[in-house]
């Protein structure tokens, strides 16, 4: 109990420093969330170099806006929103074929061509699951990652992806369903 209170106090102190523009605190913030930001960019289909550019823009935008962070949503949710918006803006500017809806053309196959099934013997479960997620349409994958990896609520995912809660539910339902199919084939 006492440890929890101490932790909360430390976090509040850290947040205060972060809001005041303290560079050391912001360095810790980058260290804590850089993987998340790269993950977001990569799942939107960006290359490693593009993901680095978007991550830099995301942290720069976060640095400029951190003074206005109200604390109403979790810090990670707030950063996810920025990262997602930056990624989408990048795609809009640089990829003409990008569409905001989950594209039918992007949908995965049945997983038999070259998918996880072939490698099931030698790879770990998480690797197979991750590969299956990577084969989902971008927006389904994003919703699945936000829900199952980042443990975000439907409301938070809707805020991050700037879509309706029902659309999030649809993405999650379809994504999960497709994953079950893919993983069933992989683990057969």
């Amino acid at each position: 109990m006492a440890e929890k209170i101490w932790q909360k106090r430390q976090e509040k102190k850290w947040l205060r420093l972060l809001r005041s523009g303290d560079h050391e605190a912001f360095g810790e913030f980058i260290d804590k969330y850089k993987e998340t930001v790269f993950l977001c960019s990569r799942r939107l289909g960006l290359s490693a170099d593009e993901a680095e550019d978007v991550a830099s823009e995301t942290f720069m935008a976060a640095f400029k806006a951190i003074g206005q962070y109200s604390g109403r949503s979790e810090l990670s949710t707030w950063l996810w929103s920025i990262a997602y918006r930056q990624g989408i803006n990048y795609l809009r500017k640089n990829r003409k074929e990008w569409q905001l809806e989950a594209e039918p053309g992007e949908e995965v196959g049945d997983g038999k061509e070259q998918g996880p099934a072939e490698a099931v013997e030698s790879r770990e479960t998480e690797q197979i699951v991750w590969e299956a997620v990577e084969r989902l349409p971008r927006l389904w994958a994003m919703a699945v990652i936000l829900h199952y990896r980042e443990e975000k609520s439907i409301v938070d995912i809707a805020k991050i992806m700037q879509i309706k809660e029902n659309t999030v539910k649809t993405y999650l339902f379809r994504g999960r369903d497709k994953l079950r199919q893919l993983l069933a084939t992989a683990f057969e």
Binding site: H23, I30, F38, M60, V144, R180
Partner: protein, 142 residues
């Protein structure tokens, strides 16, 4: 395997597997990012200093122009005010405040209120500039 898994078990397996995944990040990303932020900050500070300098310069020009206009439009009053202030300095020494209050009578303020409004605005601007220069940063970061 998934065929046999219950809904809850599948969700648990999915969550655990996804949480174990780590996304590769360039090793020196944080250092580079902090350096980039520092550069942007320095540019911002430099920009603010340049803006303050420009404001000061503009203030000096505006004040000079106003003084010139004032002398041209109200030569008698301006010289009266200046003479009064000078008399306060030269003759009455410690009674300077009295001298100023005598030279700037309520009647004079009533008849030339436009001039005093402009003077008050210029002095106000100068005060804000000085205040911003001295304690602006502390106020912004508080």
């Amino acid at each position: 395997m998934t065929g046999k898994l219950s809904e809850d078990k599948f969700d648990e397996m999915l969550g655990q597997s996804l949480r174990r995944h780590s996304e590769p990040v360039p090793a020196d990303f944080t250092e580079r990012m902090l350096k980039q932020i520092e550069e942007v900050e320095q540019r911002r500070i430099l920009g603010r200093v340049v803006l303050q300098e420009r404001l000061s310069l503009a203030g000096c020009i505006v004040f000079g122009v106003l003084a010139a206009v004032g002398i041209l439009v109200f030569p008698g009053r301006i010289s009266g005010i200046l003479r009064g202030i000078w008399a306060g300095f030269a003759e009455r020494g410690g009674a300077l405040v009295d001298g100023i209050s005598e030279s700037i009578s309520i009647e004079a303020i009533r008849s030339e209120w436009q001039l005093y409004i402009i003077l008050a605005l210029v002095l106000g601007l100068a005060f804000v500039c000085v205040l911003d220069m001295l304690v602006g940063d502390k106020l912004r970061t508080a």
